[in-house]
């Protein structure tokens, strides 16, 4: 290793400094013993896996992922799996959840609404689950109001405010 090169005019100064550098006072006689006692009281410096890559440079060990890498890697993998599972999982069949009764009707309604929003299939009366329009009759889908819904109701059968039987899923009820 090359030592410091200094300009010639600096040499007398550096020589003077080295010649007259103050010497430190001698250490206390028991300094080394004190240090070793203090070290003995310290917890042992565990060879954490973080030192492993450097140790491997000495040819003692292979490549071992260090602790910090594991702490980062494991949550990342878990999060990745959870995300993949959540997004790639096939939609559950509602009939598997609710076999009968009002829950089944609700499930069928949700399924029909979901499928209809995607494929413009039949729309359902969301209370009776009776189909109101076939795909050929309504191209607007279940989210749009049909002309029959938007036109005023016949006077012979006035619609009561709050009568939700005529409101289609997604349609905005027209008040008064």
């Amino acid at each position: 290793m090359t030592r410091n090169l200094f300009p010639e005019q600096d040499r007398p100064l550096v020589d003077f400094l080295r010649q007259h550098r103050p010497s430190p006072p001698p250490p206390a006689r028991d300094l080394e013993a004190d240090l070793l006692a203090a070290i003995a009281a310290e917890p042992r410096p565990l060879s954490l896996p973080s030192a492993a890559p450097e140790l491997s440079e000495l040819g003692n060990q292979g490549t071992v992922p260090n602790l910090r890498q594991w702490f980062t890697l494991i949550p990342a993998l878990a999060a990745g799996f959870a995300l993949a599972w959540g997004t790639m999982r096939p939609p559950q069949n509602s009939s598997a959840i609710a076999q009968d009764g009002p829950e089944r009707e609700l499930a069928v309604f949700f399924e029909a609404s979901w499928n209809g929003s995607l494929s413009q299939t039949a729309s359902y009366d969301w209370m009776s689950s009776e189909p109101l329009a076939t795909p050929g009759e309504s191209l607007e889908g279940p989210g749009a109001a049909t002309p029959a819904q938007l036109s005023p109701p016949p006077s012979s059968s006035p619609e009561q405010p709050g009568d939700r039987s005529s409101i289609q899923p997604g349609a905005i009820p027209i008040r008064g």
Partner: protein, 199 residues
Amino acid sequence: MVDSVVNPTDGRDRVPSDRHLIQDCLRGDSRSFAELYRRHQQRVRSTLYQLCGADRLDDLVQETFLRAWRGLPKFRQSAQFSTWLYRIAWNVASDCRQDLARDRDRLAAMQRSFQEGGGGGGGPHREALMRLHYQELVQQGLGQLSFDTRTVVVLCDLEDLPQKEVARILGIPVGTVKSRLSYGRSSLRQYMERQGVQL
């Protein structure tokens, strides 16, 4: 620094390298750390003395080696142990630099005492006094520098470390080491000349 690689089974005849001792320390062998201490303590002690004075020198040396012991698992074995140890010593010195002003006052008082005493006499006594006087001047001159500049001068000129290693120890570019060294030498030369030292 000792870097000879030693077979652990054949280590009785040769001096074990620092790295070998560090590996032993990581296995909990405090005797290996004692060997590291004996190997490096003089230079650490000298550096700390130039930077912080004598008041708490033993404590600072002990603190340096305690920090080294605690930090051994984090030590990158691709680095030089001495460089790493110097950096710890420098950190310890930085922590205590609030005390440096007090040291400067003490040195100034000693200088006044020497001048008032006349530095008189002759022969060997005078020679010894002159040597002490010059040592005080060096210490005082270093004390005139900022802590950063003094650190570079101590490591480069007194400890004779290469500028590249000093840059690694302090975590600064080599160019900064050069400029601080140049400024420090210039300041020291002016100071010595003001004190009547012909260089």
